[in-house]
């Protein structure tokens, strides 16, 4: 269970990004979690809500985009959900393919921008 730490890192990142909006308030943060990231969406949501409660960020909401692992053909770059017995449906190359799915990224903030972002 390291989701408390991950949720805390999300909040740290939100706080640092919000320095660009000194008069703004953030209502929602988007996070992309890959199947291989080793992070459980339900657990991180639970921790996130507990950590936000009673802070200046309340009622900040977490929206999770969960990504299945994907195979990427190393010949042509075609990407799809895994079907390991098949050749690349795009170029026919059989093997090897590489995987993605370890994403753990912030994707967006929904901000009520008291002022415009500096330099935006």
């Amino acid at each position: 269970m390291h989701e408390v730490g991950i949720a805390n890192s999300v909040l740290d990142a939100v706080r640092s990004e919000m320095r660009r909006f000194p008069n703004g308030h953030v209502y929602k943060v988007g996070v992309r979690i890959g199947e291989f990231a080793g992070v459980d969406p339900q657990a991180i949501t639970f921790c996130f809500e507990a950590l936000v409660r009673g802070t200046e960020l309340e009622p900040l909401e977490l929206e999770i985009e969960y990504c299945r692992r994907r195979e990427i053909c190393i010949m042509c770059g075609y990407s799809e959900e895994p079907d390991r017995n098949a050749a690349c449906p795009h170029c026919g190359f059989s093997r090897p393919r590489t995987f993605r799915g370890d994403e753990l990224e912030l994707t967006y903030l929904e901000v009520d921008d008291g002022t415009r972002a500096a330099g935006a």
Partner: protein, 224 residues
């Protein structure tokens, strides 16, 4: 309301510290390996065997992580190499800051090989880069041969899978080939070693693997 797109890793602070560690390791030609497994698979036993194998003139150091106790450091210190326990006090993984702190009073110029034994856990350590050259995952035959499929993240990110407790194979239902197949299904290029820290079986292959990694990393560093 405005939607502001971001492109930023959630663990960017850990990645920053890990990146700085990686630079330090490269500058001082230190090969750093991060050993990960469930509790009880045999990480400490493998390190005992490894330290016992090395000549005292070898410049090897160990950081060992546990939630509580200094027991592992005590087990490993008797070989005469620098060993430091990182007690996380509840945290189920090591992070880059803990490594940075643990190294603060060590002279890395006197180390060629830094072995990190992570907290026994197949899930959380996979998210935290420690600046290592490679993650190594250990699986013992008393566990399930489907573990690579159950915990894909760590198998996805590890360069080598060490199958330990091979001496117990006659007594357990563990299909070695299925375990290897499962690991390669998650990570096509996975290297695999079969060892027994009890009998010593397969350990020569492990020492050869280590030697090869050390040679490769020093060649790469020299080329930089």
């Amino acid at each position: 309301m405005e939607r502001v797109p971001l492109e930023r890793k959630v663990l960017s602070e850990n990645e920053r510290v890990a990146g700085a560690l990686r630079v330090r390791f490269a500058e001082r030609m230190v090969l750093c390996l991060n050993l990960i497994s469930s509790p009880g698979s045999g990480k400490t036993s493998l390190l005992e065997r490894t330290l016992a194998h090395f000549d005292p003139s070898e410049r090897v150091a160990v950081l060992t992580g546990d939630i509580q106790t200094e027991n592992d450091a005590k087990r490993l210190a008797r070989f005469g190499f620098p060993v430091k326990q990182i007690t996380t006090g509840g945290t189920c993984h090591l992070d880059a800051r803990m490594i940075e702190r643990a190294l603060s009073d060590w002279d890395l110029n006197k180390v060629d090989l830094l072995l990190i034994e992570n907290v026994g856990n197949l899930v959380c350590p996979s998210s935290y880069d420690l600046g290592e050259a490679a993650k190594l995952v250990m699986l013992s035959v008393t566990e399930g041969d489907d573990k690579p499929l159950k915990y894909p993240s760590i198998f996805f990110k590890s360069r080598l899978m060490i199958l330990n407790k091979m001496d117990l194979l006659p007594h357990v239902r563990f299909d070695v080939r299925a375990a290897e197949r499962n690991a390669r299904q998650i990570h096509g290029g996975m290297e695999v070693l079969r060892v027994s820290c009890q009998t010593g079986e397969g350990l020569d292959d492990w020492f050869t693997w280590l030697r090869r990694m050390r040679t490769t990393s020093s060649v790469l560093a020299a080329a930089d």
